[in-house]
Amino acid sequence: MSSKPNNTKSKGKTGNDREPGVGKAPVSVGVFVVTILLAYWAMMELNTRAGGFSRYVYGPYESYAVVESVQPGSGDDPIKRGADIYRNICSPCHQASGMGAPGQFPPLAGSDWVNVEGPNRMLRIVLNGLGGPIEVNGETWNAVMPGFGDVIVSDEDLAAVISYVRNSWTNEASICTPEEAAAVRAESGDRGRAWTSTELLALPLEVQ
């Protein structure tokens, strides 16, 4: 027999005199099963009803895409729709004026990454993000921009925000079509890491 105190049979003491303790009583399998099922149910509930934990999604809207699609006045004019998306997603960094912030966020207004023939490179920047040194209008920036591929879920919205940036402030470039957005998303949507400017410069300007 071991000399350790045993909480089921205490030495000498009986009933209420015994110090309460924790033992290793077996737990029935049912409790585990129920716990796992509850956890599963909770996860599913979060997955379907938490709106992707976006700060822009409140009940009764199910997801960012739904909130975006019910915006009054959106849907008909892609530039107007793009302006809404830009205001909500890009403007905290690149500013409403498109001028960015010195030393932190490069400008989009007049940028030589934006005012080019095709939206191929810009689509990839917005989808997967951008990191490492990049030269914009002769100035070098070194920061990280996160990707927004899983925030801007619809190809129409992605095309709209790109079109808006390419045609706002002093920028003049072609409209990005939802087809172009879909093609680039299919190609690099699940790339999983940010682009670097050297990688992008090796790519063609126009969507192939």
Binding site: P5, N7, E19, G21, V22, F53, S54, R55, Y56, V57, Y58, G59, P60, Y61, V67, V70, Q71, P72, G73, G75, D76, D84, R87, N88, P92, A96
Partner: protein, 300 residues
């Protein structure tokens, strides 16, 4: 004590998980917001409160208004209004589609009625329909050249009571420090009171004696925000115009103290009538005459 360390780590884990879930994660999710340009009102929202409003806010806190009044409008669902905005170049086919669309929604519409709908734009074709119906109807107009839009219509008991056109969201509380959201409703919600009840005199009288303007109100009277003083020659321009039953007596007048004015300024600053991205609704510039008509009676 047996298994003390298990107890310790168990409690620690529970605390850490709650802290992560109740403090850290919400901060990551909702924190660090800033004001936003709202195109419908042409300025940034929310705007920073001025010093008078902040004083009024302090009085709101001290008077304990938050014990009976919330400042949060909830929304339980949404529907759509289908609106014809422009007829375009082919009025005849649009007319035919209007008649067909009415059939789809289970209504009969004669050609004449369709013409009158087309004469007064924008005209609401369907009210409060679900998304599928709205999109179905809009699809009918796809190639007709007409401009038809589905305007979102927030729904819910609070919105039905007229307490606000949309639900409140995190952004609305950007300058609300400490938060006066409230959790009990003995009186109506005040999130949009500045837009709902715009008459300053009404508010002053209501604060001086709620029952002087709302029969049977059980809101307490805040008489200490007013001074009752003898009329010195001419009555003060500021004095409340109270009815017989509530007047301060012969030769006396009731004059609001600066605190009362500040509190009313604060109430006036409470408005959520502009849409925000998170809580969209179709905003139409209200007709000023609409606001002043007192149809929106204070709740019983």
């Amino acid at each position: 004590m047996q298994k003390g360390y298990q107890l310790f780590f168990g409690i620690l884990a529970v605390m850490v998980i709650s802290w992560l879930g109740l403090v850290v994660f919400p901060t990551v999710q909702l924190g660090h917001q800033s004001t936003r340009q709202v195109k419908e009102i042409g300025r940034h929202y929310p705007s920073e409160p001025g010093s008078i409003v902040l004083n009024g806010r302090k009085i709101y806190q001290q008077a304990g208004c938050v014990a009976c009044h919330t400042q949060q409008v909830r929304q339980s669902g949404y529907a759509f209004d289908v609106v014809l905005n422009e007829v375009g170049d082919f009025p005849d086919s649009v007319k035919q589609i209007l008649v067909d669309a009415a059939k789809l929604a289970g209504k009969a519409l004669s050609g004449e009625e369709a013409s009158s709908q087309m004469a007064q734009l924008p005209s609401t074709l369907l009210e409060g329909v679900d998304r599928v119906t709205a999109e179905g109807v809009i699809r009918l107009f796809k190639d007709s050249g007409a401009k038809v839009a589905a305007n979102i219509l927030p729904l819910g008991p609070d919105i039905q009571r007229g307490w606000g056109p949309r639900q409140t969201v995190g952004l609305d509380y950007l300058y609300d420090q400490p938060l006066l959201m409230g959790q009990q409703r003995l009186g109506p919600d005040l999130a949009n009171v500045g837009a709902r009840l715009t008459d300053r005199d009404w508010h002053l009288k209501h604060l001086y004696h709620p029952r002087s303007v709302v029969d049977g109100s059980n809101m307490p009277a805040y008489t200490y925000l007013f001074s009752v003083q003898p009329i010195d020659g001419e009555p003060s321009p500021d004095a409340l115009e109270l009815s017989e039953a509530f007047s301060a007596g012969e030769g006396m007048e009731v004059v609001p103290k600066p605190e009362a004015h500040a509190l009313v300024d604060y109430l006036m600053s409470l408005r959520i009538e502009n849409p925000v991205f998170e809580a969209p609704y179709m905003f139409t510039q209200a007709d000023p005459s609409d606001i002043n008509n007192s149809e929106m009676q204070p709740a019983q």
